[in-house]
Structure formats: C-alpha cells, structure tokens
C-alpha cells in the first residue's frame, strides 16, 4: 500500500497518541461524501479533508456501481482506482477527519454565527483533528457569560454538548432539572433565583439548578442564543472585524418619542455624565457584555468596558430608559441644604447607598446593627431625623414649602 501516513485511529492503535478515540464511520457521513462528490454543479471538485483529498476518477459518477475514486494523501502517493467498497475502507481508517468534515459541512451548516461558535468551542481553526478528538473525548469546556458548555465527541464522530450554570459545575446531573428543548431556556432566564424579573438577559443573575445534558450542535447554539440573545451574532461580527458599534451620541440622537429628550443631556460640556451611566449600568457586576461603545467615535469613556467574551455594541434599552430618567433629574439645579448629622449618621447614609447600589440589602442580617444599612439602623435613623412629611432633618426639599 502506498498510503503510509498513519491516521488518527492508527496512531491511537500504535500508541503515538493514545488519547484519540476510535471512531466508527457512520453511513450518513459516508453517504454525504458520495453525495458531495456526485454534486452535478461541481463534478470535477475534489473533496478536502484534513490530510487528504478524495475525488472521482475518470468519467464515472459518484455513487454509481462502476465509479472509481482516488484518495490523495498530501505529500504521498495517491491511491487510484478505488471501488466504492475500497473508498469506504480507506475513509473508515480516517473516520475522524471524515466525521469532522461531515459535522461542520452537513450538520452545523453555513450560518456564520453558529458555525464560528461551534468551531470556536473546539478550536477547529487552530487544532488538528487528532488533537481535537482527543480533547473532545475527555470533554472540552468553554465559558459563555455564566454558562459552562462542555463539548464531547461520540464514537461515531458526532458532537454532543452539555450546558449548565457555572455555579453548578461539579453538581451531579440528577440533582439538576434536565432540559432538551432550547426554548425551555426562556423560562430559565425570566426570573432570578429570588423570583425577580430579569429585564436584562446579560445581567449576571442567571439562576442555576438546570442542565441541558446532551444536545446537538444546532440545539446548543439555540440554547445559548436563548439565554443570551444575539451575543453569538455580535461576537461573530466582532471576530470578523465587522462589529457595528453605535456610540452613545449617535444612539441618543436616534431616539424619538419619550426618549427624544435624552439628546439634550449632551450639552457639549464633556461626557462625565456618560461615565456615570456606564459605571452604573454596564460594569461587569451589572452586565456580562463587554462594552465597546464610547461617548462618540473620537471620545472614549474613562470607565472600564469589562472583560466579557461577547461585546456590547450600543447602549441597550435598559440604559436608554434609565438615561431618560437621569436626563430629567440632571436638569435640576443643585441647592445647598443644611443638615445636622453625627459623623456616624453621615457614614450610615453612605453605607445605605452602597448597600443598595451593590445589591447587598438581603445579605445584611436582621440583628446585625453594626451594618449601617441594617433595617433597624435605618428605621432608627428615620425615626430620629425625618419629620412627619418624610423630610430629612425637617428640611423641606423645596424651600418655598417652609
């Protein structure tokens, strides 16, 4: 035999790379090879696999009983005149490369974001088939927001995926609620673990306790896109160098109706207000997207955009809605109010703002009166400092009300 290049399975058998799994060539993968070779739109084409090509030799047509094939290992003598049976035997020896082709060309398909995402999971554009199949046999893990995605290969070369919450890493499957329909994820993302509505799907408040233990390539893509909508599409565009970022200024200029007022907040006096918005809403503690939008295309914000794997390409609807409120509030002129506070009372007000801003209210124990944001402490402060109209220090908000 002219073919002396060891295939992945041969290498596994000889101990060169003991972790590469044995793959049985499924008939649907072999049929797809014949189908591709017999494509009437592309009759002369050779089919490329990692390490070799296959083509029809002579005038025959792939799939016909008398067709002959040629298998050409790069840098080696081609094997010609193969019958369909010979071809099957040769491809069965190279089942890893053939099933890899089959998975991405026929199962995953062309759709850019899905294909790029599934190839990224197993580093299909960097690692060899042998290295990937060895890694997939053990399980390849990827993080996406708060998700842990584990990819595996079956002994027929198929890809199977598990999706779970990162906090559930290591939790036995039987302790988690099992799902297999990607659309089930709509219910998972709706409420946080305390039953509160999540208006922003990329907030780091995804609840755990569930698992998609065994889904195929299309379903894993749909599941991730249901949990974090459009994140794969935007990540893909970014990788292609085509992410269409809309900065703060142009996004607010575009608004109409009740949101049209936001553009008046940009007064040509700097962008500090947008720093505050980004610090309030876009910090990694609030949203897992990596903020790529800035004040405008010449003016970067001063706050960190975060470390998320997927980008944020424009201020989202939550930011726009909040900005409308802040535009109103920030149009007010500041006034000087005089209050008498003890040093501890001043610090307590700061502690209360911090606790609310950091979402720590529920962590503060009922009897922990050392915490300024403790409920009894707050009630004491109110009892002492607020008048019957709720005015701090008895000072009316509007001096005319005095």
């Amino acid at each position: 035999m002219a073919d002396s290049t060891p295939t992945a399975s041969e290498a596994a058998a000889t101990g060169d790379d003991p972790d590469v799994p044995d793959i049985d060539l499924p008939s649907d993968a072999f049929d797809a090879v014949l189908d591709e070779l017999g494509d009437p739109d592309d009759p002369d084409d050779e089919l490329r696999f990692e390490g070799f090509t296959v083509a029809v030799s002579g005038d025959g047509r792939a799939g016909d009983a008398d067709a002959r094939y040629v298998l050409d290992p790069a840098g080696d003598d081609p094997r010609t005149g193969l019958s369909e049976r010979d071809l099957h035997a040769a491809l069965a020896e190279r089942a890893a490369a053939v099933t890899d082709w089959y998975v991405f060309e026929r199962v995953v398909g062309e759709f850019g974001p899905r294909r790029a995402f599934l190839r990224w999971i197993e580093d299909a554009d960097g690692a060899t088939v042998a290295a990937r199949y060895a890694a997939l046999a053990a399980g390849v893990e990827r993080a996406w927001g708060q998700l842990r995605i584990t990819a595996r290969v079956t002994d027929r070369g198929e890809r199977r995926y598990e999706v779970r919450h990162e906090a559930d890493a290591g939790v036995p499957r039987e302790e988690l609620t099992v799902h297999d329909d990607p659309l089930d994820a709509r219910d998972i993302v709706k409420l946080d673990e305390r039953g509160r509505y999540r208006p922003l799907k990329t907030a780091p408040t995804l609840r755990g306790g569930w698992i998609f233990p065994d889904v195929g390539p299309k379903a894993v893509y749909e599941t991730v896109e249901t949990i974090y909508p459009a994140t794969i599409a935007n990540w893909h565009r970014e990788r292609e160098g085509e992410l269409d970022v809309s900065h703060w200024r142009e996004t607010m200029e575009r608004q109409s109706g009740i949101y049209g007022v936001i553009r008046t907040w940009d007064r040509g006096e700097g962008y500090e207000h947008v720093n505050w918005v980004a610090e309030a809403c876009c910090d990694d503690s609030q949203c897992l997207k990596r903020r790529e939008w800035e004040y405008d295309d010449e003016t970067d914000l001063d706050v960190d955009g975060g470390d998320g794997v997927f980008p944020c390409r424009e201020p989202c609807s939550v930011v726009v809605s909040a900005a409308r409120k802040w535009t109103r509030l920030e149009s007010e002129q500041s006034r000087t109010y005089a209050f008498e506070l003890t040093p501890s009372e001043k610090e307590q007000l700061e502690a209360i703002v911090d606790a609310v801003a950091d979402g720590r209210i529920d962590e503060i124990r009922e009897a922990d009166t050392k915490e300024g944001a403790n409920r009894y402490r707050a009630r004491f402060l109110r009892a002492k400092l607020f008048d019957e109209d709720g005015n701090l220090g008895g000072v009316p908000t509007d001096p005319d009300d005095e």
Binding site: P199, E225, G257, S317
Partner: protein
C-alpha cells in the same frame, strides 16, 4: 429558507409581557410553516436592532405584534430594523390597510417583507369573537349577549380608534351578538360607563391589547368597576349596575392570534401550505367541543 420574525413591545417591568409573543411563536413553529420563527422586542432581547442578525433564512417576513398602525409600526420598528429607504407611504395606508413593504434591511443587507400590524388585519375580527367564546366557555356565544371592543382611543394615536371601530363594525355586521359597541379608555364613549351603552344583561368586554399588563389588569378592571382595587381580583362575570360583565383580558393572549400573524405573512407572499387551517383548528376553544 423561509423565516418569520415576530416583533413586539416587551417590558422592563412585567415578566408576562412577552408571554403571548412566545406562545404564538410556538404555535407557528409547531405548524411547520416556517423554517425558523424568531422573536424580537423593543424592551427585551433580542432587541429590534439585533434580531435580524440572528435570522438564518433568506426569505424573511417581519410581523409586528401591535394593535394599530402608528408610532411603533411607522417609525420605531422600521428605524430600528434599519429598513433602507423606508417611508410610511410604502404602505399606502388609510390607517387600517397597511399590508407589506419589501425593503433591504441594512443591518443584514438582505430584503425583508415588513408587514402591517396584526391588530388591523381582517382576521383579527375572528380573534375578538374567539376571545368572547373563550371567556364565556361557549363556542356559540352571541344571543342575549353584548360585546364591547375596548381600546386606548385617539389620545396617543388616531389610528387606535380606527382599528377598534373597524372590528366592532365587522362583528356587528355578522348579527351574532345582540349589541356591539366600540368603547375607549380616554375618550367618549368611555369604558367606565359600559352599562349605559348596553341593554343586554350580559356583555363580553374584549380589550384590543396585545399583552396583559397595567392597562388590562389594573386600569380597565378598576375603571369599569369590576373591583375597587385590582389587587382584590374580580370574578368573571362580575355584575356592575345590573350588567354581567365578562371581562376577557387582552385579546392578544388568545391562541388564535397565531392565525393573524400567519395571515400577515401570507399576504406578504409567504408560502404556508396548510398551516392556516392547522392553526385555526389547534387553537380552537376546548370548552365548546
């Protein structure tokens, strides 16, 4: 590959706002009429701005799950979807007759069929009637009953009242209910005075809203007098000033809405096979069978 994109308002505050959109998308998925069915929102994700980039198909139908033509269907959605060269004259509508416009969505550099809203489609009339059947549990409801179709009124959008009147007139022409009235929340005839507009002892009240939320769960029940405070809840029916009011809640939650979405896509050229018949059958009210 044929794709359907249902676009709806959604909410930052109400977790159930998107529920009808998802339910109708599921019904249409099950019908097999489209290779994919996607949903996009103004207040949820994927946003209108990004939904088209999640779509794989090359024959794309966008159907707005809104009750009338106006600000959202004419300005917000076309702008956010980035429909190149959109002008409301593309629809050549009198406020009720928008059907579809085929435009390139700049975001994906692909043509999409941008359809008129579900609320003004003639098939919506059937959904209002079906809603009345559902809430009364009677697939023949009509005799001895009045029907009130309720909407915002013109304060925010002049076309809102047009849609209400259009469907009320069509239902009246069928002679199925003893009386049919169009009532409004912010103009005369006001829904607050419902018993004054009907002689029938029983009146089904169907609000022309897409999702249950503030207007349908708090405003209308309190204004009509079904309850003092919406947190108390109310019975169906509830007697108010001698009229038994069968309050249906948002018509958009009725499963037959999926049919109107399909009708919109079909009017724009989508090939639906027998999906329309299937959906009309599978969403039929069980109580009448």
């Amino acid at each position: 590959m044929q794709s359907l994109v249902i676009v709806a308002h959604g909410s930052h505050l109400n977790p159930e706002s998107s529920a009808p959109t998802y339910a109708h998308a599921d019904t249409i998925r099950a019908s097999g009429a489209f290779d994919e069915v996607k949903t996009g929102f103004w207040k949820e994700e994927p946003h209108f701005r990004e939904v088209l980039r999640t779509v794989e198909g090359d024959e794309v139908y966008v159907v707005p799950l809104f009750v009338s033509e106006g600000y959202f269907t004419e300005q917000v959605i076309p702008r956010e979807l980035r429909l190149e060269g959109w002008d409301v004259s593309e629809w050549d509508s009198d406020g009720l007759s928008a059907d579809q416009a085929t435009l390139v969505a700049e975001d994906v550099d692909r043509e999409v069929h941008y359809c008129g809203p579900v609320g003004t489609h003639r098939a919506m009339t059937d959904v209002i009637v079906r809603r009345a059947e559902s809430v009364t549990g009677d697939s023949d409801v009509g005799e001895g009953f009045g029907l009130a179709v309720v909407g915002h009124g013109t304060e925010r959008n002049e076309n809102s009242a047009k849609a209400i009147e259009y469907h009320a007139d069509r239902i009246a022409e069928r002679d199925r209910f003893d009386e049919v009235e169009a009532l409004y929340m912010d103009e005369d005839p006001e829904v607050d005075d419902l018993p004054e507009y009907f002689e029938s002892d029983d009146v089904v009240l169907v609000p022309l809203f897409i999702a249950d939320g503030y207007h349908t769960q708090e405003d209308i029940p309190e204004d009509v007098g079904l309850c003092e405070d919406h947190t108390e809840g109310y019975d169906v029916p509830t007697a108010v000033d001698g009229t038994r009011i069968w309050y249906a809640g948002a018509v958009g939650t009725e499963p037959l809405m999926a049919d109107v979405i399909l009708e919109r896509a079909a009017d724009a050229g989508a090939d639906l096979g027998d999906a329309l018949a299937t959906v009309r059958e599978t969403t039929r009210v069980a109580a009448g069978d």
